[in-house]
Structure formats: structure tokens, C-alpha cells
């Protein structure tokens, strides 16, 4: 897999994660297939709020789209994960430092109390997909360990 560098948050950064997922089918087959439309929402970046809609299907991330706030509902996400820029950068830096999320920076730990990250959506049974397929989403975000990330 080629070395990769990108700024967080950006379309390119999520595309690099998607590419890493798609190149490692055997790894993701081990976790089980994924079917989700997800929005990663980073609040208060130097460029304002940034939203990225990702479509997961089978063992791949098929689509990465940057969305403005008004386009989120139209994207029809199963779940949205949201937090402020500082929390996201701390999580990404921690993953880079440890090779994967440490106990204090797993997606579940950060979302546990609804802060500093929260997972939500219009339909709780669709939000639950986040927990049904948690191994895959954690592995996906842990791909950040292999990305040379700079911050805005």
C-alpha cells in the first residue's frame, strides 16, 4: 500500500481511509460485511463545520462525498457521528501515535456519554447499525494510523 498524506478533515483524507479499506478485503471480511450510510461531522474546523458522507457496502467503502449542512438529510444517513474539531484531531493523533485507537480514544468510548463525540440519527434502529458493525467502523478509522495527516 502506498504511503499517503492528506489534511484532516478533507475529502482526500477520507478517500485515503476508504482506499486502505478497499485494499484489505481479507481483513474486513474477518469482521463481517458492512451496510451503512454514515456521516462524519467535524464541528468548528478553521473552515467551519465539515460533513463527509460515506457509503459502506459489503467489505468496501464505495463513496465519499463532502456535504454541506443542508445536504445531510438528503444523504439519508443511518447514523451521524459528530464532535468538535479538537476531539477529532486528538483522536486521529492518538491513532497515529499508537497504531490504533487506545482505550480512551475508541469510537465507542468517545461516544459513550454523548460527548465529546455523539452518534445519532432519525431512526434509532438505523443508528444501531453503528453498534452492530462496530469492529468494521473502528478498523476503518484506525486506518488513519497509516495516513500522514496534517491538520488545518
Amino acid at each position: 500500500m502506498a504511503n499517503s498524506a492528506a489534511e484532516f478533515p478533507s475529502h482526500q483524507w477520507f478517500e485515503l481511509l476508504a482506499a486502505r479499506m478497499n485494499e484489505q478485503r481479507a481483513k474486513y471480511q474477518n469482521f463481517g460485511f458492512v451496510t451503512a450510510r454514515a456521516v462524519f461531522r467535524i464541528m468548528g474546523t478553521p473552515a467551519g463545520n465539515r460533513n463527509f458522507g460515506l457509503v459502506f457496502d459489503g467489505f468496501e467503502c464505495l463513496e465519499v462525498t463532502e456535504l454541506d449542512d443542508r445536504a445531510i438529510a438528503g444523504f439519508d444517513p443511518d447514523w451521524i457521528i459528530e464532535g468538535d474539531y479538537a476531539t477529532w484531531t486528538e483522536m486521529v493523533s492518538s491513532i497515529k501515535a499508537h497504531g490504533e485507537a487506545d482505550p480512551d480514544h475508541t469510537l465507542n468510548r468517545l461516544c459513550l456519554l454523548g460527548h465529546p463525540l455523539k452518534v445519532y440519527g432519525d431512526d434509532q434502529t438505523r443508528v444501531d447499525i453503528f453498534f452492530r458493525q462496530l469492529f468494521s467502523f473502528q478498523a476503518f478509522i484506525d486506518e488513519a494510523a497509516a495516513v500522514e495527516t496534517s491538520f488545518a
Binding site: 460485511f33 468510548r109 459513550l112 434502529t125 453498534f131 452492530r132 462496530l134 469492529f135
Partner: protein, 410 residues
């Protein structure tokens, strides 16, 4: 020595008598009879049976010439249903004990006999109506249940298990002991229903067997984990079922007699409510896990419980949309919830043998239990909120009558 006094059964069971054994005929007579059996004679004559002589199209054979192609996941139920003439069960009953929606009924069997061998209450395969059993997207959830089962040999590295301080190990072991009890409870309640579900609902039958496998697999893994890291099994919890057994015994009528059984009361109790709480607790356990190994176990448990909740929600949703008497179904389910919510809160969520070890894990040891309790208090509103949000989705809103406290009573 165990008492020989028999406790009265909580469920009214009909008297049963053991039939006297019929004397067996002598072996020579049996062999002679088998030799002259019409099928044995046919085999000796070299003739092939009806399975081979029936026309492939228009006869008893079904769906000859189909070429299902693997989909993006593999050769799934969804893939074969793409080419199947019966991707979903029909909305009527099925007459043969061993007949599935994929196999034709034999025209040689008279209607009278069909009626005789049809599923009936009090026999196996009695759940034979779509509204009683089926769920939306059954194939997909069933494949997910199979695909997301933990492969311990591939996904767990026992050699990476981390020694923990004694107080943390003790807390994890108590937490695991509680989980084992809770999961076996679900397994024991759900298991006997399996055989009652008709083969027409093959995906649901498969799903339920995978759910039972989830419980057994996780119980085994937790016990191995407890026994492998310097600790041991913790203290058993009395009354953990918090009304589940009583509700489910009533729903099953003790699995005896030609009576109505309420599969959906059991699904609501075990999958929607109990697994919903277990899922939240597994998330807390994942957050409190002090080693990567323990975190993996708790992530798996979170996934398992979330999937069981998904099954429960889809089942109840389908039931409420298709059952013949929606109003009665809603009333019955609300009554189940009315009974279980306070008992689950009292015996499960407020049980010190559950809360204290969890708080100790979240606080990273004995000294952090106050911080752990603070986290539990802050998390508490999610128990009711997540459950109620699901009920809204499936058409059983009960914000006005939910008896799980919205705020922590401690």
C-alpha cells in the same frame, strides 16, 4: 442430599403418563419384513425413485435451471432469493411438517391427510403464519448474524492477554460472571422456540440458531477469559432475570398443550428489552476494559446484542403491521413492558453485583469507583432513551408509561 419433595410447577401442566413399551417382534421377522418392503424390492429391480422420474418442469421438482450468482458478500440468502420463485414466504399457513416454501406439496396426499399432518398447536412447527414469525430483510440480518460471529481462533490472541491489578481483574471477572448468567438466560428462554417455527421461514430459523450460538460462544469465551488471567468466577446473581422467566413461561405456556403461545412476548422481552439493556452495558464494559483483549470481547458482545435488538425490533414491527388484531397486540406488549421495566431496573440495572464491578472497571480500579459511578450516572438516561427511541420506530411508543427511570436513582 437433595430433597425428594417435588415443588409444584408454576405453570398448570396436564398430567402425563409414560406409555408401556410395546414388545418388539423377533429379529428374523423384522429382517423378513424389510426384505419384502416395497422400496427394497424397487431398489433391487434397479428402478430409480420419484425424485428422478418426476418432470423437472411441471412435476414435483422445484426451480430447475436456476443459477444464483454470489452477490457482493458471497452466496447469500439474498443472492439465491434473487433467482428464487419464492423469495418470501406467502401470507398463509403451510400444511406439511417438513414442507418449506421451496418445495412443492405432493399431489398424491389427500387433503384429509394434509390436514392431519399439518402444524397444530401443541405439535412441532406450530408457528406457521407469516405475521407470527417473519421479519423485513430477513436474509440480510441472518447473513450478518453468520458473518459477524466471532472466530476466536482468528480474532482473539490469547497470548496477548494482559495481566491486570487484582482489583481490576476481580471487577472484570465479576462483570463476566454476570454476563454469562445473563446470556445463558437468553439462550435457555429462546432455545425451545426454535423447533416450533415452520421451515417456510428458513431465514428466521437460521437467524435464531445463530443468536443461540452467539450466546453460547460468548459464554464460553468469557469463562475462558476469566479462568486464564489469574482470576476466577465471581458471585452468582439471584433474580437477575427480573421477571423474564415468568413472562416467557406464560408466553410459552410451558410448551405443553394445544394452546396459543405468544412468540412475540418472548421476542419483545428477550431481544428488544433485555438485549437492549445488555447492549448498553456491553458498551460500558468496552469503555471500561483495561486491555485490548478485553476490549475486543466487549466490542463483540456489543455487536451481538445490537444485532439481537435489531431482530427483536424487526419482528415486533412486522408483527404489529400484519397481525389480525393490532389493538390487542399493542395492549399485550405494553403489559409485558409494564411488568418487566421496573423488575429489570430493580434486579438488573441497580444490582450491586452488576453496577459496582462496572464502576470499578470504568474508574480503572478500586480507587476510581467514585468516578466510575459518576460515569454510570451520566450514562443512565440512555437506558430508557435508546429503548424508547426504538419503540417509537417499531410503533410501540410508550414515553408516557415507561417505568425505567429517566434519571439514575442513585
Amino acid at each position: 442430599m437433595a430433597s425428594t419433595k417435588r415443588e409444584p410447577s408454576p405453570v398448570a401442566l396436564p398430567l402425563t403418563t409414560r406409555p408401556r413399551p410395546v414388545p418388539l417382534p423377533p429379529p428374523e421377522e423384522v429382517k423378513e419384513k424389510l426384505y419384502h418392503h416395497q422400496e427394497a424390492q424397487r431398489i433391487r429391480s434397479g428402478q430409480l425413485g420419484e425424485w428422478f422420474t418426476t418432470p423437472l418442469v411441471g412435476g414435483l421438482w422445484s426451480e430447475w435451471g436456476k443459477h444464483a450468482k454470489p452477490d457482493r458478500i458471497g452466496m447469500t440468502f439474498m443472492a439465491i432469493n434473487q433467482v428464487s420463485a419464492t423469495p418470501e414466504p406467502a401470507d398463509d399457513s403451510f400444511r406439511r411438517l417438513l414442507h418449506s416454501r421451496y418445495i412443492k406439496t405432493h399431489p398424491g396426499i389427500a387433503h384429509e391427510l394434509e390436514e392431519k399432518i399439518a402444524p397444530k398447536y401443541g405439535t412441532s412447527r406450530e408457528l406457521d403464519r407469516r405475521y407470527q414469525v417473519w421479519i423485513d430483510h430477513a436474509g440480510e440480518l441472518t447473513e450478518e448474524a453468520l458473518d459477524r460471529q466471532m472466530r476466536p481462533a482468528r480474532q482473539l490472541r490469547w497470548e496477548e492477554m494482559t495481566p491486570l491489578p487484582d482489583d481490576v481483574e476481580r471487577a472484570f471477572d465479576q462483570f463476566a460472571t454476570y454476563l454469562i448468567q445473563a446470556l445463558y438466560l437468553c439462550s435457555d428462554i429462546g432455545g425451545p422456540w426454535m423447533g416450533l417455527i415452520h421451515y417456510a421461514f428458513a431465514e428466521v430459523k437460521s437467524y435464531l440458531s445463530y443468536e443461540l450460538f452467539d450466546y453460547s460462544l460468548m459464554c464460553g469465551l468469557l469463562r475462558k477469559r476469566v479462568m486464564a488471567n489469574g482470576g476466577g468466577m465471581g458471585v452468582g446473581i439471584e433474580g437477575l432475570d427480573g421477571g423474564l422467566l415468568e413472562v416467557c413461561n406464560e408466553a410459552s405456556q410451558g410448551f405443553v398443550g394445544a394452546v396459543d403461545r405468544d412468540f412475540n412476548a418472548m421476542v419483545f422481552a428477550v431481544d428488544v428489552l433485555f438485549n437492549g439493556l445488555l447492549m448498553d452495558i456491553a458498551r460500558l464494559g468496552q469503555a471500561g476494559a483495561r486491555s485490548r483483549f478485553d476490549r475486543q470481547l466487549m466490542t463483540q458482545l456489543t455487536q451481538d446484542c445490537a444485532r439481537h435488538v435489531a431482530f427483536g425490533c424487526r419482528r415486533i414491527s412486522f408483527y404489529l403491521r400484519h397481525c389480525p388484531d393490532h389493538e390487542e397486540a399493542v395492549v399485550k406488549l405494553h403489559l409485558v413492558a409494564d411488568r418487566l421495566e421496573p423488575l429489570q431496573t430493580e434486579n438488573h440495572l441497580l444490582n450491586p453485583k452488576v453496577l459496582e464491578p462496572l464502576a470499578m472497571l470504568l474508574g480503572a480500579g478500586c480507587g476510581g469507583i467514585t468516578e466510575g459511578m459518576r460515569i454510570l450516572r451520566e450514562f443512565w438516561p440512555q437506558f430508557a432513551a435508546n429503548y424508547l427511541a426504538r419503540l417509537d420506530t417499531i410503533g410501540l411508543g410508550r414515553h408516557d408509561r415507561c417505568l425505567i427511570p429517566a434519571q439514575p436513582p442513585f
